[in-house]
Symmetry: C2
């Protein structure tokens, strides 16, 4: 019962693409670089959204919605920001089509040209800070703690499902504060929220840190990030939270009267995670048989497959299964009883393995006689026979255990793939043969960072927040350094 | 304590615009025709979304996501469809900006011109049916019951907050079926879901019907709709559900092997409601003091305002209020205890009246002595003094009663504004002086419909589903007619 899935060891990248498509998560569309998120993939994204949204609200944030379009001139207001995004902007120039004179279809109506071109938002700092100017007069109007769930467009030349697409879905938080300290605390808080979500819901261990200057968000004074490690030894940036200083307040003239009645510029943060997390989820846990999903985010947590011949036998099985389904649902566990007669049990086993359903129950003639179920867990593929009156507690245990187990496995892999090096030869050797994070001293200059990137394709993923002060010499230039940073090849 | 709100009787349209802005629902943005939905407005929309999403899932639908962009050529495939949407399309022609040579900012890079222009989706039938071709081979793949929550863009020349904006948020369901009967049943079912939602959650009574040919969705064989009536006597289309026949299957070559193994074209529906519902909600219930919200959709259902002097008194009040807040929350009631010392009680009363919070509790010195609360309901503005041990059940009663009461009030208004007429003079007189729906015979021709529209600005809102067969003569042409239809001026 092959899944015709390329093995990870053969071609990790091909394995990933095939898996995303075969597991019905997403597919490419007729529009270059834009994907279709299929119902099963979207159901996982919805679960992620629900948890994140709850966490945002628990930390005092509210949702709002800002325009899709950004006037071209807004982008220019913040110098670094426009520099960072101008090269990948989808631009709306006209607002009407008309019939082609040769009858071949529709063409752009040259008379319907916009006075000012509109950019499809690549991120919303500019349009939001243009709005905040109207919302903020006094310290009483602060803080503003707003989040937006939206689509954004960055015209990437090389795209991959979930990991890098021209259009993607994300959330972007945009907050405004009276003081630098408060804004920094907010940016740090949201990095912590992201780390909590990644580790405790996605089961993806992450390293918290700050970005080097050249990897920082365009317009930020500091970018906090969480970095994950995929099974092929490449790192993946899973979320970022930016302390924007007063840059956007300056660019959009957003001032407030402080408690002393003096005018002051407002402090800002922004923070986001995107459908890219779907890629991280797939690549962290899954195996050559298909998806492995953390139970907390699995759209279907338990599937029950009856093994039967004829309607009578199915009816008898249903009679036993129906109360179980009800009981599991009453405990908030999502269950599917797949009693379709159009597919054989073996086909179904295969399908749910591919789709990463955490627990599979099978029930056939012998189970009916013995009052048992065959219970299989997706992560280890272990099977066991469980008595009917113990099956609910066993399922509860398995869901909990799997959530822990896949995290632990990913954590152990990650820990085994952080290598401390002190020479550039070693640096290159580790990147070449082992992969993962390389912990090395760096002289702090963008020049060295750039040279290392050119020579090895590795970038500084982050300066870990928990790094100890340590005297050393830059692994490339030999100049003095006070702290190790983490390099890796990355998605 | 004025709200400086224009009275409905003075200028209904101005009242609406002011209310939307003053109640913090939405505002205009720096982008022509695009609005900012503010946190309070968005919280109402989120409640609508949650209910609708639940109803869609209970009727077997799943969510998915399709690209924002539609290749220009896709639109041309369905003749009526392109005719309907070409005149209001935002068109992406380029994918990069570059620095202007004179240093004045960024300009569109002429070298980054797209080979084929992309339309920002005005609706997604074309991109979705291009995708369904890949998903559908056999009758086993049907039905497909998919919904999408998304933003869409229609370049309207005259826009109004929520009612008509260039960009708006909506959901669009797109389903595929093996038979005509099944597709028609789906379209009717979704109209019923919309009517259920409008009446039982929004408290907005609606008339279910079908559209005349000229009011039909571009590409549909039948459009089912729900029509509501606003307080100024104008109708508002609140939701539509389309039976699309095989038009899009033909245009995108989507065929399936039926049970007999023969190739057949797939049958389609699409259905949608949008942030326009926010406009309907505001205009149906609200009064000259501000919003009136149905309790089921109110982001804050109960607000508690302490009336106190000094911290000690506030502490005593808090001690009594805190357990009440907890008890209400445990019952799923959303409560805000507004103990801010930056605003006076009178200011707060005004603010929550403006924002339509259904129940307001006030507690001052005398209430502390007597163990009571002053309880006010927003719809009738009635106040009463309630003992502490009765306040929870009174609140539960009031929330339920208000939900019923505002529906009943809107229903009675609507019923009083359906006028049966048999002459064109009467037709014009009713439209001019009374407004509302005019029930009249119509000869069934688009020409008569168009003439009536030119003469009176009234359009056929719908052919009611529950209309009785009745012999009569067209109110304009005098030609024979078998059924009355509903005319009205409309948003």
């Amino acid at each position: 019962m092959g899944k015709n899935l390329t093995k990870r060891s053969e071609d990790y990248s091909k394995w990933y693409n095939e898996l995303v498509i075969k597991a019905d998560l997403a597919e490419n569309s007729g529009v270059r670089g834009c994907m279709v998120i299929k119902p099963y993939g979207y159901a996982i994204w919805e679960k992620m959204q629900a948890e994140l949204d709850r966490m945002f609200k628990e930390t005092g944030h509210q949702n709002a919605y800002f325009p899709l379009f950004i006037p071209k001139s807004y982008l220019s207001r913040e110098a670094d920001h426009v520099e960072g995004f101008a090269k990948e902007c989808a631009v709306v120039t006209h607002y009407r089509l008309k019939n082609a004179e040769d009858g071949s279809g529709v063409v752009v109506d040259p008379e319907a040209k916009l006075e000012e071109e509109l950019i499809v938002r690549p991120t919303s700092e500019t349009i939001i800070w243009d709005t905040y100017r109207k919302w903020i007069q006094s310290y009483r109007d602060l803080p503003i703690l707003v989040n937006q769930w939206a689509n954004v467009v960055r015209w990437e030349m090389r795209t991959r499902l979930f990991l890098r697409t021209a259009e993607f879905l994300w959330q972007e938080g945009h907050t405004a504060h009276a003081t630098r300290e408060e804004a920094v605390a907010e940016a740090v808080q949201m990095m912590e929220v992201y780390a909590d979500f990644a580790e405790n819901f996605m089961g993806v261990p992450v390293i918290k840190g700050t970005k080097s200057e050249s990897e920082r968000f365009a317009g930020a004074e500091e970018t906090y990030c969480i970095e994950a490690l995929m099974q092929d030894g490449k790192a993946l940036q899973a979320g970022t939270s930016h302390f924007l200083g007063q840059n956007f307040a300056k660019a959009f003239d957003v001032k407030f009267a402080n408690k002393e009645g003096k005018q002051d510029l407002v402090w800002a943060t922004s923070w986001g995670v995107s459908t890219r997390l779907m890629g991280a989820l797939v690549m962290t846990h899954s195996d050559d048989n298909g998806l492995i999903l953390p139970p907390k985010l699995a759209p279907i947590q338990v599937v029950i497959v009856p093994i039967y011949k004829g309607e009578e036998e199915l009816n008898a099985i249903s009679e036993r299964v129906d109360p179980l389904v009800k009981e599991l649902r009453s405990k908030g566990i999502s269950v599917k009883f797949d009693n379709r007669d159009t597919h054989k049990p073996g086909w179904k086993f295969n399908e749910y393995e591919l789709k990463g359903v955490p627990v599979r129950l099978a029930i056939g003639r012998r189970d009916m006689e013995n009052g048992t179920y065959e219970v299989a867990r997706r992560d280890t593929l272990e099977k066991e026979t469980i008595k009917g009156d113990e099956v609910v507690s066993r399922i509860e245990y398995l869901l909990e255990d799997m959530q822990q187990h896949i995290y632990k496995k990913a954590f152990d892999y990650r820990e085994a793939h952080i290598t401390t090096v002190d020479s550039f030869d070693e640096f290159k050797e580790v990147l070449e043969n082992k992969g993962g994070f390389v912990s090395a001293h760096w002289d702090g200059t963008p020049e060295t960072e750039e040279t290392i990137k050119e020579l090895t394709k590795a970038t500084i993923r982050c300066i870990p927040l928990d790094a100890k002060e340590e005297e050393g010499k830059c692994v490339y230039s030999g100049k003095p350094s006070m702290q190790r940073v983490l390099f890796a090849k990355a998605y």
